[in-house]
């Protein structure tokens, strides 16, 4: 077999041509700017598009500037391609696991990786229509492509064109953080920016970092047949999640045959006689593994460079991004920020929600607060891990008495019938009340299930009401109602019990 070719460029095919025509057409000519825009949006990712759509709906003249591709990380190098990839990976995992369902394991399961990736790119291209420059232009957005920098507190330059604004929103997002590991750059590596361009499966893949992106891709590539080693410098994956969730994920990784290295750091990458060698250290234990490709899943850095933010009087930090207040306003009162470039919670929907807050606050003198957002998220491993609201440790730290109602998925009929009984629903309430503080769900479809709890939190619905909501039987979301019913059982007081018994006896 020829050695794995780690140089990756996007295959130029009809799908790719269509996507580029949507999100950054070569022949695009920037429009003639108006004298002054009510709102200029810098960055046409999820936040930018959401802001543009809302502002246009309000009848406001909007310009949007994009350096690279409309749709940003989510469409091009994030959620969309990774979920498409994960779907196929799950299918292969299920094929190998078919006996568990009483089905025959297909003979010679062979992964056609090129076909897998062609599907990923086809779907990405299909969905790019929604972010197409033609659609945005038709809505009335003045769409500019080019390098952008601020030239003053109310002015910015796109290439050599000057644009003036009453308000501006910076939504330039983030890019992958490449760790400073000796030899890594020389040896070559993948990030989310180019991993979806692969057409050949790396037989041995090292994933550095056990955050959401690292975990999702490590498991997907394992399911697609790669020998995957995942290295995480912490004792558990998904540092932010509760340890039971992270522990279940570790067990799932072990089940899948991922080589898990926790408490481990990469100290260097070397090329020796065409072999890519990676040196690892765990406490005092040193080891070396040979791989074909390295994916760095660790962290993101905000895109704040090259914008001349100083000229506009916008404070920022190279690591933490643009400084904002709770109304998403920067240190320049004309300029706001939204999305990953300024938020700790880096999720597509949160970016869009923050952008809508900006439009309200910037254009309608609104006073909407970022801190009022109820933000759910999900890591799309198998099982999925989703969360909304507070963690127990946060509640404890703030002195809020917290109690958790836990329902393991093995108590839920539909999870059992589907052989998907790994995981749990945990709903955290303020002890002594039925008020939901937050929830964590680990389940095959945790991402779908968390929305019900988010709705309850936004609408101020407590467990008392949730317990009354009949759920379609059998569904896995019944676990949520079971937690609420468990709460209700704790509310049956001794007095009520005694009264009932007297009544029954009489």
């Amino acid at each position: 077999m020829p050695p794995f070719d780690a140089t990756v460029t996007t295959p130029q095919d009809a799908c790719e041509n269509k996507r580029l025509a949507d999100v950054h057409p070569q022949a695009w000519v920037n429009p003639e700017p108006v004298d002054r825009y009510a709102l200029i949006i810098v960055g046409a990712g999820s936040a930018g598009i959401a802001a543009a759509e809302l502002a246009i709906a309000m009848g406001v003249k909007v310009a949007m500037v994009e350096r690279h591709l409309i749709g940003g990380t989510c469409l091009n190098t994030g959620c969309v391609p990774s979920k498409a990839l994960i779907r196929t990976a799950r299918l292969y995992a299920e094929m190998r696991d078919a006996a568990r369902y009483g089905a025959k394991v297909p003979d010679n399961i062979e992964v056609d990786f090129a076909a897998v990736m062609a599907r990923v790119r086809r779907i990405r291209s299909h969905l790019s229509g929604r972010s197409s420059v033609r659609r945005l232009a038709a809505l009335g957005v003045d769409m500019f492509f080019g390098n952008v920098r601020f030239a003053g507190p109310d002015t910015l330059m796109v290439n050599e064109q000057k644009l003036r604004f009453a308000k501006a929103m910076i939504a330039t997002g983030t890019r992958p953080h490449v760790p400073s590991i000796p030899g890594l750059r020389e040896a070559g590596f993948l990030t989310n920016a180019n991993v979806f361009n692969l057409t050949e499966l790396p037989p041995r893949l090292l994933v550095i970092g056990g955050g959401p992106v690292g975990c999702e891709l490590a498991q997907a590539f394992r399911h697609l047949g790669a020998n995957v080693t995942i290295v995480q410098d912490k004792p558990l994956f998904l540092e932010r999640e509760e340890r039971d969730a992270a522990q279940i994920l570790s067990d799932a990784f072990a089940r899948d045959g991922l080589e898990v290295r926790l408490n481990t750091q990469v100290t260097g990458v070397r090329m020796e006689n065409g072999h890519k060698l990676v040196d690892l250290i765990s406490a005092d234990y040193r080891s070396t593994i040979e791989v074909d490709a390295i994916l760095t899943g660790v962290g993101r850095v905000p895109n704040v460079q090259g914008l001349d933010l100083e000229t506009a009087g916008v404070d920022y930090d190279a690591a933490a991004g643009i400084a904002i207040d709770d109304f998403l306003c920067t240190s320049n009162s004309r300029i706001y920020a939204a999305g990953d470039v300024c938020l700790q919670e880096q999720y597509t929907d949160t970016a869009a929600a923050s952008a809508r807050i900006v439009v309200h606050n910037a254009l309608m003198r609104g006073r909407k607060r970022l801190s009022k957002l109820v933000i759910p998220w999900c890591t799309y491993t198998d099982p999925e891990i989703s969360h909304v609201g507070m963690y127990v440790r946060e509640a404890n730290r703030q002195g809020i008495p917290v109690k958790t109602f836990t329902v393991p998925m093995h108590q839920i009929d539909r999870a059992v019938t589907d052989s998907e009984e790994i995981g749990f629903v945990k709903i955290h309430i303020r002890d002594g009340t039925d008020t939901i503080l937050g929830a964590t769900i680990v389940a095959r479809h945790a991402g779908e299930m968390i929305n019900e709890i988010t709705l309850a939190m936004v609408a101020g619905i407590g467990l008392r009401t949730l317990a009354q909501v009949i759920h379609a039987y059998p569904t896995q979301a019944e676990a949520i109602r079971e937690a609420a019913k468990a709460y209700m059982r704790t509310r049956v007081t001794q007095r009520l019990r005694a009264r009932l018994q007297r009544w029954l006896a009489g």
Binding site: E242, N396, T404, T406, P408
Partner: protein, 439 residues
Amino acid sequence: MSPLSAVTDDALLDRLQCAAFGYFVQNMNPRNGLVADTSHDNSPVSIAVVGFALSSWPVAVERGWLERAEAVRRSLAALRFFRDSDQSGSPTATGFKGFYYHFLDIHTGVRVWQSELSMIDTALLIAGVLTASLYFTADTPDEAELRELADFLYRRIDWRWAQGDGGTIKQGWKPESGFLHYGWEGYSEAIVLYVLALGSPTHPITGDCYTAWTATYQWENLYDHDYLYAGPLFVHQFSHAWIDLRGIRDSFMREKGFDYFENSRSAVAIQRRYTQLNPHEFAGYDENGWGLSAGDGPNDEQPGVFNEERRLFGYAARGVPYGPDDGTLSPPAVLASLPFAPESVLEAMRNLLMRYPQILTDDRLCSGFNPSVGASDGQPWVSAGHYGLDQGVVLMMIENHRSGFIWQLTRGCRYLSDGLQRAGFEGGWLRQGHAEGTR
């Protein structure tokens, strides 16, 4: 001997306890009082097992299984060894800052397996050291020396150092790489560690350290039982083996109207419910087939082979309800729940012994067995030999159930009661504590 099924509960417990004690007799090096981690050939010493051994000698004297002078001699041998041990913290020393490496060579007493300097295992060792000093109170030169040594060893431990720059106590330290870079997260067997670290008159941890730990607790309702969550059963037993946690409450338990003893009772109920539900459909799981805990189990790991599918976990801390669960149960973890739920435990023990007589050799319980992974003749997989931690906690918990003897002794320990009070424990026996002439 009469078959176990025919004897009374008390006779059954007596036999199991005496056999557990036998482990310490058979696996001790008389020259230094150190005890092997397991009965396997070439097993190193686990310092925690020495702590259990030091607690077992007084029990054996009380039960008439050992002469008092012999018990003193064994205890003194261990205490003198630790006093004289290399405390330089070098890779081949025995300890550092009053703590000891987790595993030691049974002949030389120096570190083996590149093991970590272990905070929790030092705590279990020193709990045993203090237990011995509370029992051997006679006015003889040997027993006086024993008490002095115990005091010296306890006071030498630099608990404050073990906090590092973090909020909670570190789990370990290695001369090669410093502190293991994580602390205690979530409820665990560490109450005894925190209490000893708070009670120290010489190097106590800072007062907010215990609160920082309890801030990681998870108060849960699972299977209609309220409890402070911890998956493996041993977590609900180890601190309780030494400290009488009935009716005394820290601020967390006061807020919940509960205590750590009741909590262990809930843990038993939850284990039983879990094995009844038996989500992974393992053989032998039911209301009497429970006991997911730390212990030995079957292994499918092939040395040197990476990326193989793994379903069996070898020696591991198995837990409820999130696993890991590979069908392995720990009989000692069942028996050590005796003080919390005597009826359930005795019923389960009799049932297990009847169904799986292989789990008992020389009246001593194996560390783990797995009826789902067996030989072709339908026999369950059974862990070979015996493990010191299992035998120690079984011996102590049977004693606490039968007489409360260990708890009575440690209630008189000034360091423990001070530590408990500094951790915010109130009520119950702590109210009278100091009046009874604690030392």
